[in-house]
Point group: C2
Chain length 280, copies 2
């Protein structure tokens, strides 16, 4: 029986804590670390992050946009980064926010979740503007290989509210609809797994978040640290799914680079606030 992504994540969290650390090599950070703003700087930034995070963090999240910015050379660095992180025992979610339909969506699914792909990751983020159902090809591949999908549901940026908070005739918000659909895909795993393959993205700073009870899948929570979300916010929003809530920190940790020991210290300090269950 293939282990689900949710189970893999809970296993990792039990020893490493529930933390998702971002690798966000944007231009200002490359400069702050004294690196050139090109593919060689990107490679060095990524190498330092791998050294700092791979053997202690449960889930690492490279931001694809900052690699794509350098075209094929950036993607070559991303391939190397994902591969090395996974070899060294952490789970990798590629933050790509892809979304399309039919054979095109299947192309993205293959790119990020097929074991034979050079970009093969443990999980990928996807965007549901074309309808939750349009993402079926990536759900299918995730189920086949025990990989994860995080669907954008309620994001932490203020511009998102006007769309994601709109409600249907029954008063259910778009973000809640997304969570409910993900929960339905995870439900068949309840008998044999602690959690399914389909997760959601829900901001830790939201005042009116969707109800996550019954999701039975992982929750990626941006907005912690620099953006103001606290460990209490994470637990309040996740409710009885707290054990599956992985706060994402990027800026607060990366600001301590490029020194590897300082990066590792920032991770330890942050991770202490988000223990896995059972506590290690």
């Amino acid at each position: 029986m293939t282990q689900t992504f949710g189970d893999k994540l809970l296993d990792a969290a039990s020893t490493r804590g529930r933390l998702c650390v971002g690798i966000d090599p944007h231009e200002s950070l490359l400069r702050a670390w004294g690196l050139p703003v090109d593919a060689t700087g990107l490679a060095e930034f990524s190498r330092i992050c791998v050294e700092a995070f791979a053997d202690t963090v449960a889930l690492v999240k490279p931001q694809v946009a900052f690699y794509e910015r350098f075209g094929s050379r950036g993607f070559a660095v991303l391939e190397e980064t994902i591969g090395t992180l996974r070899e060294q025992g952490c789970l990798v979610v590629s933050d790509a926010k892809r979304g399309d339909i039919g054979s095109t969506m299947a192309g993205y699914a293959t790119a990020w979740l097929d074991p034979a792909s050079p970009l093969s990751s443990d999980a990928v983020t996807v965007s549901p503007y074309l309808g939750f159902g349009s993402l079926q090809p990536v759900f299918d591949l995730a189920e086949e290989h025990g990989r994860g999908v995080f669907v954008l549901a309620a994001t932490s940026n203020p511009e998102a509210r006007v769309l994601q908070d709109q409600t249907d005739a029954a008063g259910v918000s778009i973000s809640q609809q997304i969570v409910n659909e993900a929960a339905a895909l995870n439900a068949p795993h309840r008998a044999q797994h602690r959690a399914g393959n389909i997760g959601v993205v829900v901001g830790a700073t939201l005042t009116d978040p969707p109800v996550l009870s019954g999701l039975n899948g992982a929750i990626l929570m941006p907005g912690v640290g620099a953006q103001g979300g606290t460990a209490r916010d994470v637990d309040t929003i996740a409710g009885d799914m707290s054990h599956l809530a992985f706060p994402n920190v990027s800026r607060a940790v990366l600001a301590q680079g490029p020194d590897v020991e300082n990066l590792r210290a920032a991770v330890s300090e942050t991770a202490a606030a988000f223990p896995g269950f059972p506590r290690s």
Copy 2:
């Protein structure tokens, strides 16, 4: 004064017609063309498409997913394809459907619209699930360089209706809200340009499409040909914006490959139904 993307597109359409031809090298098409399912097959497929389309089609749309599927090697082929198409005089819209926030969205904007990027295109498609306002960095770069952005508004796939047709308190659908926001960005160009830089994607098969009057920007219309949309559907949906409506055909044309003359004949036949204004 920088020419807008809308003006460039109208100029191209006046001699080449209002047609957007897709380059969709998915696995079944690679096989149908007798090519290997790898980056070398992708390169040969793309080379044939460039030869067939670059000197006759107004707008060519490579589907990024089918390149991304092969990782950095696929992106290297995409860079070469975009560059050669543009050198030979057609406009290129990279169908990436990217969408993120803040500095991350700026990373995607740089990747696809910065003149110095290896993936530099005339236009890019984007997805607004994080809110129309979250896309501001790509609008800014488009305005700076006279490049185009096509925002997903009302797509042609049935799974999209449940999200895109939801209405706000005033009864305005999400897809209409997107069109209205794009129109507002194009409005300042009315005095000096025939059309602005910000376009939308609206399916040609929709029975209840958003009102496009006043958009003053380009309209990319999938759903023509194999999916059933006709020239009459395009004109009905676009209304007084018909001159800016570019139907997208992919399957119906690509099914005639790999013979270049057959591909060119399929383009001529299809383009005849969608003349530019004034007719050449």
